[in-house]
């Protein structure tokens, strides 16, 4: 029978979807990031705080061996006490947050921008991939790196403390420390990943996206500093991405936040931003661009 007479045949079988369609996208993203020379450098540098804090945990259990370092400085060893404040110092540390921004500048700016530039979205969506799978794949790429600097060190710190102390004292004294580590890691990672994807989706130009990731993060902090410096009103901390992350981190680790503002406000600001990122991303990632 000539093909023209056959018409379309509809498959009536049951489609069993056991795939993880987002995974190849993430895997490729991770692989591509490591192909960048400077990314590898920043990646290695980002582990510096984790290394320092891990050494701190070791010293905290061998204080008598290291007393010579703190001779005559009364109370100077208190920062080596591995407690929630110690974890908060790591997770809310300026350097760690800065390095996360730099990692996103180097490895995340092109995640969607490159696809927009090379018109790859229609290639993605011509496969059995939904918009959600695509975004999840990209989110997982950024999230992978971010969790490497949050969740992995956090868990490692707990494990090291248990090993060096030879007891579960940390977990019995602060039973919520493990969930706090997991929650805070997820929060910071999801926020930065969504923020990076949002900025990356705004342009076809990776360099422009990189500058914007950097600019928005620091602008928000600078404006907070300006207004806080003038009005001395702690609520201006809500303007700063960094301060919001630090407020929530402090609350999760049950440490007094730096500003006298309910931490839930900061959490709401961050959640609002993630939600806004989601809305924009869904609108921006289209297989077909309609030009008016």
């Amino acid at each position: 029978m000539p093909i023209a007479e056959q018409g379309y045949t509809h498959w009536t079988g049951h489609f069993v979807d056991r795939r993880l369609p987002w995974w190849p996208i993430s895997r490729l993203g991770i692989k591509m990031a490591f192909k960048r020379k400077f990314f590898k450098f920043a990646f290695a540098l980002s582990f510096l705080p984790a290394l320092i804090f891990a050494v701190g945990i070791y010293i905290s259990e061998r204080l008598e061996d290291f007393q010579f370092m703190f001779k005559g400085r009364k109370g100077s060893m208190s920062f080596l006490e591995v407690n929630p404040l110690y974890f908060k110092s790591y997770f809310g540390g300026d350097f760690l947050l800065f390095m996360m921004v730099m990692m996103m500048v180097l490895g995340g700016a092109g995640l969607i921008a490159d696809d927009l530039r090379s018109n790859s979205l229609q290639l993605y969506f011509s496969r059995p991939i939904r918009k959600g799978d695509y975004l999840l794949g990209k989110l997982a790429t950024a999230g992978f790196f971010l969790l490497l600097f949050t969740l992995l060190p956090g868990l490692l710190f707990i494990l090291l403390k248990i090993i060096f102390a030879g007891s579960f004292k940390l977990l019995t004294a602060y039973p919520w420390i493990l969930p706090a580590v997991v929650l805070d890691s997820l929060l910071v990672s999801v926020f930065f990943a969504a923020y990076t994807l949002l900025v990356s989706s705004l342009s076809k130009n990776r360099r422009y996206a990189a500058i914007l990731i950097f600019l928005i993060y620091f602008f928000s902090d600078i404006f907070f500093s300006i207004f806080y410096g003038i009005f001395h009103n702690p609520y201006f901390c809500l303007l700063s991405i960094k301060a919001d992350l630090q407020q929530v981190t402090a609350a999760l680790f049950r440490v007094k936040p730096a500003f006298e503002v309910p931490w839930i406000y900061s959490l709401l600001v961050l959640a609002g931003l993630v939600l806004a990122c989601g809305v924009v991303l869904v609108r921006k990632t289209r297989g077909v661009e309609v030009i008016k």
Binding site: L106, R207, F214, I222, F223, I226, F227, G229, F231
Partner: protein, 265 residues
């Protein structure tokens, strides 16, 4: 007019036309006006709360100028300076320029001139607006306008020098943005606070040396900008900035004329 100058002028008008059309221009224009918005918030607050007086000159020098000098012009110069070549390579449009009867030096100089003049107008407009808002009660004071003129001139010099420097970085380096971020927010924001001659190795030192004196009622003029500053003389500062700009542009033109560029697939 020489052939080079004519070519520079034609490249200049081509890119001034394009930069005005570009979507990113709107974003950066918005960013440039944020200090003015901050000034407005401060001023409105002062009007609404009679007890909260505003020391306009202090806010202008300590906040608006610090923000513009230590952050905004660096970001703008970094993006636009490195864009001069990078955007042609990324967009694969360099061919349209290098296969025209235009000297390669004119491509760099014309595009630099277009971007820098656009940036100067954008930043100067933002600063002027912030100034008018903060000096609302002293607008008849000629001294205050001199302060604005000198501040704007320092920012313009900063844009000229940094954009030239980042143009060179863009011509020579593939990862010019990363280098630029490290240079701008590492070197340029740290070295000026080093004592002695060390601070003279930063462009920022010479810009700070040219800042106008502002008499404020508050504590210390340019408290943060002037911290640890051992200023060079204005003449030395201007000459140094001019030399750095000319050298960077000269090197960029020289390298661009000799280098071959391939588009990334």
């Amino acid at each position: 007019m020489s052939a080079l100058a004519r070519s520079v002028r034609s490249v200049f008008s081509f890119y001034l036309f394009i930069v005005r059309r570009a979507r990113r221009t709107k974003i950066f224009a918005l960013v440039s006006f944020l200090p003015a918005l901050a000034a407005l918030v401060i001023r409105v607050n002062a009007w609404l709360s009679p007890g909260a007086a505003v020391d306009g000159p202090a806010v202008f020098s300590n906040i608006i100028l610090t923000f513009n000098l230590q952050f905004l012009i660096l970001v703008l110069a970094l993006f636009y300076g490195t864009s001069i070549l990078a955007e042609e390579l990324e967009g694969k449009t360099l061919t349209y320029l290098t296969t025209r009867a235009v000297p390669k030096a004119a491509i760099i100089l014309g595009k630099y001139a277009a971007y820098v003049s656009f940036l100067i107008v954008m930043v100067a407009a933002g600063v002027t607006l912030a100034f008018v808002i903060l000096f609302a009660d002293r607008l008849g004071d000629a001294q205050a306008w001199l302060v604005l003129a000198r501040s704007a001139a320092v920012l313009a010099l900063g844009l000229l020098t940094y954009t030239a420097f980042f143009t060179l970085a863009g011509v020579l380096l593939k990862k010019s943005i990363l280098f630029g971020l490290m240079f701008s927010f590492g070197w340029e924001n740290i070295v000026p606070y080093f004592p002695g001659a060390t601070q003279r190795f930063a462009i920022m030192h010479y810009l700070k040396s040219l800042l106008p004196p502002i008499s404020t009622g508050g504590e210390g003029n340019f408290a943060f900008l002037m911290f640890k500053l051992e200023p060079s003389t204005p003449a030395a500062a201007i000459v140094t900035l001019a030399v750095v700009t000319a050298a960077a542009l000269g090197l960029a033109c020289w390298a661009f004329a000799r280098k071959e560029y391939l588009f990334e697939e």
